[in-house]
Amino acid sequence: MDFLLASLSDGLLIGFIYGIAAMGLSLIFGVMDVINLAHGPVIALGMFSLYLLYSVLGLHPYFGLVIVAVVGLLLGMIMYAIVVRRVIDAPHLSSLLATFAVNMVIIGLGTAVFSTAPYNVDFSLGRFSVGPVTLIATRVIGALVAILVTIGLYIFLYKSRPGRYIRAVANNKTAAELVGVPSNFILALSFGIGTMLAALAGALIATFFPFTILAGGTYELKSFVIVVLGGLGNPVGALVGGLILGLIEGIIPTFMETTWVPVVEFVMFVMILLVRPTGLFGAKQ
């Protein structure tokens, strides 16, 4: 029982971080109908940015997160300006391949610089016990940061002017342009926020797991599963989807080999696409 509680709480904490990575993917799909196949490498870049900021420059990791977020935002806006802008109205094949090309460029350069050897951010805040469960502090803080980011994103999307513009463009781009929304900038901003969330998720994961330049791929695939679970283009659904995936990853090892986790995840992924492609909480209309 204690073992179950421990692995459940671990899964739940990780789930929040999966959630924000998936929220980024979902936001981008919701606003511009683009599945960003460069999501994984951006997650990996988040990990390595934190590594460089902490291990090379000696910054505190949680201060480093702020810089990672800014870098992620700018990187996304640049990616939008150079690549995504040109394929936004093209068929899906074009946008899938264009973002995959960015994926290849980042992974290629990343492999040349960092090789594929594992790195880790040597940082620990110890652990503490809540009843029968022992929690690792960095994971708890990671989950808290993820919750804060989610609340921040919600307030931004629903209360601020650029956030409303984003929702307007997602809803109907032409109509938004007609009433004077600068759609090009708003699309760039949405893409930037999407990659920012990915970079942040990567940086948070880096505070407690070792990683390689290719590690982003695993989390990108998890983000796909989560996004489909929560409904494509539905950022709030993505967070809940992240928690569900985290819980599944926590529960399965208690009665099956851990190696079966991806089997369950991907079978579930395909089943949901087939049975209920709008996800559990409804997709973008």
Binding site: L96, A101, V105, L109, A112, W260, P262, F269, V270, L273
Partner: protein, 323 residues
């Protein structure tokens, strides 16, 4: 028009492949044969992907799943059941086709990005299942006993035989691709690509056509998988289902020109040659992936019809020759 001129598109495609196959026989260097084998493998895989991607317009991002699946089935039959290579290749192709039939019935209902995501999911599900499936070797895979090549007159002889088989499969793939393209069945697929709902209104039975196109495009990777892993001598889950290769195949099809018979041949040959050159050039060795990425980006952004498509649009006279 004279009778043979009608088939000029096919003749040129077959001629190109035959030249590629004869080249290592003339130089008789094993290195050249390996290079030609890799290119032929690319051509056959890209041409089969083109049936569902180029003709039908469904973006299969996980097409390599049939390569791995066929490879595993064939490898199991050869190494554990003692079958010869020929029936194993047949079995690999048929099982890949059967799997595609059952799966296609379900996932071909999805369109656009949803279909692409589902194919990625299927690839990952099969990969992770096979990693756990002990009958097929689980995470460590299976290896062939070296003695198995004796049946074919020793390892060197077997390699030569594998090369001829690869040439034959490639030629068959291209003939099938051509026949599909020029048949009524193919016209139905092209109609689905342009507008699936309109095609159905015009009497195209889209679900059936799509399923058969998907099955056809899955059989060849299945056969090639058996051949490739027989040559390789071992099979492991991750090298058998490389998601990355799926996307390289799409790049080959796009580079040459999706929806044409000659496009995937040109695209696969150009891509494989380029990849080989980049890997052997010291400056590019480490960033070969980045260079390929930039190339892909240029194609997608500026010549989405691919080289053959671009030539056909630019010089209408070539439409008779290039198909």
């Amino acid at each position: 028009m004279k009778n043979w001129q009608k088939y000029l598109g096919l003749i040129i495609s077959l001629l190109a492949v035959t030249l590629l196959a004869v080249w290592p026989l003339i130089t008789s260097k094993p290195v050249d044969r390996e290079v030609a084998f890799t290119i032929l493998k690319g051509i056959a895989l890209a041409s089969s992907l083109n049936i569902i991607l180029g003709y039908t317009g469904y973006v299969s991002f996980g097409h390599i799943v049939y390569f791995g699946l066929g490879g595993y089935i064939g490898f199991y039959l050869i190494s554990q059941q003692g079958w010869s290579i020929y029936p194993s290749m047949l079995a690999g192709g048929l099982i890949a086709g059967l799997f595609a039939f059952l799966l296609g019935k379900a996932i071909l209902r999805l369109r656009g990005a949803y279909f692409a995501l589902a194919t990625i999911g299927v690839n990952m599900a099969v990969l992770s299942f096979i990693s756990n499936f002990d009958l097929l070797g689980g995470p460590i895979g299976m290896t062939l006993n070296f003695n198995i090549y004796k049946e074919y007159g020793g390892a060197a002889q077997a390699l030569q035989l594998i090369f001829y088989l690869m040439v034959a499969i490639t030629l068959i793939t291209i003939i099938v691709s051509y026949l599909v393209r020029t048949s009524k069945f193919g016209l139905g697929l092209l109609a689905i690509r342009e507008d699936e709902d309109a095609a159905e209104v015009m009497g195209v039975v889209a679900p059936n056509l799509k399923t058969w196109a998907y099955v056809l495009s899955a059989i060849f990777p299945g056969v090639i998988g058996v051949l490739f892993f027989f040559k390789n001598g071992s099979i492991e889950p991750h090298p058998a289902f490389p998601l990355h290769t799926s996307i390289e195949l799409i790049v080959m099809v796009m580079l040459g020109g999706q929806g044409t018979v000659f496009g995937p041949i040109l695209g696969a040959a150009a891509y494989q040659r380029m990849r080989g050159l980049l890997l052997t050039t010291p400056i590019f060795k480490n960033i070969q992936l980045s260079v390929a990425g930039v190339l892909l980006l240029i194609i997608v952004l500026f010549i989405p019809a691919g080289v053959v498509g671009w030539i056909r649009n630019r010089f209408p006279i070539t439409r008779r020759v290039l198909q």
